[in-house]
Amino acid sequence: MTGLRKRYGATLALDGMSFSVRPGLVTGFVGPNGAGKSTTMRVILGLDAVEEGTALIGGRPYLGLRRPLNHVGSLLDAAALHPGRSGRNHLLWLAHAQGLAARRVDEVIELVGLTSAARRRAGGYSLGMRQRLGIAAALLGDPPNIMLDEPFNGMDPDGIIWMRGFLRSLAAAGRAVLVSSHLMSEVQDTADHLVVVGRGKVIADAGVAELIAAVSAGRVTLRTTAVTHAMSVLAQAGATVAAIGRDTVAVSGLPADRIVTLLNASAVPFSEVSAHRATLEDVYLELTREAVEFRAATPSEVSR
C-alpha cells in the first residue's frame, strides 16, 4: 500500500487523510469515533467515493484490481453475513468470485480454527466466531495486504490473545497489516507502527516506541514520603513539578540523575526515581484530545 490522500463529502469525513502502510509491520489505525477510520477503509476498498485524492494498493487503485482478494484481504463488518448460509459456504462464494478452489476455503478455515463450526449456519455464530470467519475471508486470496476494522470486537480473552499472535505472524510473513482499534492496550501489544487520526486527518504517523518516547520525553516519576519538600527543592532548581499521587510527583525539565543529586543534597527521602513510561493510552489521549473536544462541540458533524 502506498500513499493515500483524499477529502470526502460535504461533511469532510476525511480532510486530507494521508498515510502509508508498510509491509512486514502491523500498523495500528487509531482515533476517536468518527475520526474517519472506517470511512478510510471503505475508500481504500472502493466502496465509498471521494471528492479528492486516491487510495492505492501496490500502486494501483482497488477498482483496477482483477482479483482484488489476492491483493488485499479485508474485514469491515463481521456481522455482514447471510444468517442462513454456513460459514464454509460464505467463504466458498467468495473463493469462487476470485476463481479460487474450494481447497483454499478449507485451508483458511483450518487457519482460523473454525473447522468444527464451518458447516453450521452462520446465523448461530458468536461475534468471536464471526470475527474468525471474517479473518478467514480476508486471508482467502493469500494477499500481501490485510486490513481489519476493529477485529478485537466481541472476542473473548483467549480470542484476543490468539488474534494478537495471529496478526504478528501475518506481519512476520512479510504482509502489510492495517488494524483499526480503539482498544489501545491491544494495539500497544500488537502494532509496530501507529497512525493516529482525528477530524479526518492524520495526527501522528510513527512507530509505537517513538510515539511513547515522545510523550514520555523528559518526564520522571518520583516516589517520596516528603512530597512538599521534594517539590519545593526541585521547583527551585527550575523543574516543573506536579503531585500525581499521595506519594508520587511527576517531574519534567530535569534529567533523572540531576534529580537524584538534588534530592540527596537536600536530604529529601525518596524510594524511587524512574523515567516515566507513558502508555499508549496516554499517547492516544494526548494526541486526540483536540479532536475529541472538537467532536463534542459539534456532535452531528460525523456519524460514522
Binding site: 471503505r42 466502496l47 477498482l63 482484488p68 482478494l69 453475513l81 447471510h82 448460509r85 476470485q98 476463481g99
Partner: protein, 252 residues
C-alpha cells in the same frame, strides 16, 4: 465475469430461501391454473374462451415468489451489509449486478419452465376434449404462450432486481414491484377515455407482458403478444439500468 457468476451461483444455491421460493412459484402457478381450468365450465363443444391462457393463468400468482426472490437477491445483501463484501470481492459493481441478473434469470427460467409445463399438463388433464385439443397442439400459439410465459417470469425477475437495487430495502422494493404489476391494470379500468385506457394496458408491465399468453382473439388485444413482452422487457431494462447507475454512483 465468470468468477462473479460462479460466486452468485454459489450464493443462491447455498441458502434454502431461493429453492423454496422457486418451488413456491411452481406450486402457485400450477395450483391457480388448475383451479381456474377446473371451474371453467366447458361444454362438449368448446370452452368458450382461451384455454391456453386459462391454464397459464397461475403466473398471476406465481410471479409473486419470483418477485420476492429477485428483490431479496440484492436487498438481502443490503440488509445484512454483505453487499460490501460482495463489492470488495468483485469491485466492478455492474459486473456484480450482471452476474446476479444472469444467475437469477437462469434459475427463474428453470422454475418457470417447470411451472408452465406443469400448468399445461394440469390443464390437459382437467379439460374435456376440445379444450384439451387446444392445449395439446404444440404448434404456434400454444408454444408461443408457453415460451412467452417463461420469458415473462424472467423479465419480471430482472425488473424486480433493478427496482430492488435502486431502493435497497426489501419490503419497499416488493411494494413498488407488486404495485407496478398489480395496481396499474386496476387503475387502467377507471380511465374513462378508451385511448388512454388502452395505452395504459399497453404500457403496464403485467397486462402487456401477459398478452403473450393469448392464443385466440388476438385482434382484440391492446398490444400484440410479442410486442407486449417487449414492453415488459423495456421495463426490465429501464429498472436494471437505473439500478446499475445508482449502484455505480452511490457509496456502498
Amino acid at each position: 465475469m465468470r468468477p462473479a457468476l460462479h460466486a452468485e451461483w454459489t450464493k443462491i444455491r447455498t441458502v434454502a430461501g431461493p429453492l423454496w421460493l422457486l418451488l413456491g412459484t411452481v406450486a402457485a402457478t400450477v395450483a391457480l391454473g388448475a383451479g381456474a381450468t377446473s371451474v371453467a365450465g366447458c361444454t362438449p363443444t368448446g370452452c368458450g374462451g382461451d384455454t391456453t391462457r386459462l391454464s397459464l393463468m397461475g403466473v398471476y400468482l406465481g410471479q409473486a415468489p419470483v418477485v420476492i426472490l429477485a428483490v431479496l437477491v440484492i436487498s438481502g445483501e443490503y440488509a445484512s451489509g454483505m453487499i460490501r463484501t460482495s463489492l470488495t470481492a468483485v469491485p466492478q459493481r455492474v459486473t456484480v449486478l450482471a452476474a446476479k441478473a444472469v444467475t437469477l434469470t437462469g434459475v427463474v427460467a428453470v422454475a418457470g419452465t417447470v411451472a408452465v409445463l406443469g400448468s399445461l399438463l394440469a390443464g390437459w388433464l382437467i379439460l374435456p376434449g376440445p379444450g384439451r385439443q387446444a392445449l395439446s397442439s404444440a404448434e404456434g400459439p400454444t408454444l408461443r404462450a408457453a415460451a412467452g410465459t417463461v420469458l415473462y417470469l424472467m423479465l419480471i425477475a430482472l425488473l424486480s432486481l433493478g427496482v430492488a437495487t435502486a431502493v435497497r430495502d426489501s419490503a419497499t422494493g416488493i411494494g413498488v414491484v407488486l404495485g407496478l404489476l398489480y395496481v396499474v391494470p386496476i387503475v387502467s379500468q377507471i380511465v374513462g377515455d378508451p385511448y388512454w385506457q388502452r395505452l395504459l394496458q399497453k404500457i403496464a408491465p403485467m397486462s402487456a407482458g401477459l398478452a403473450v399468453q393469448a392464443t385466440t382473439n388476438l385482434r382484440s388485444l391492446p398490444v400484440s403478444p410479442w410486442a407486449g413482452l417487449g414492453v415488459t422487457a423495456g421495463w426490465a431494462v429501464v429498472a436494471l439500468s437505473a439500478g446499475a447507475l445508482l449502484l455505480r454512483t452511490r457509496d456502498a
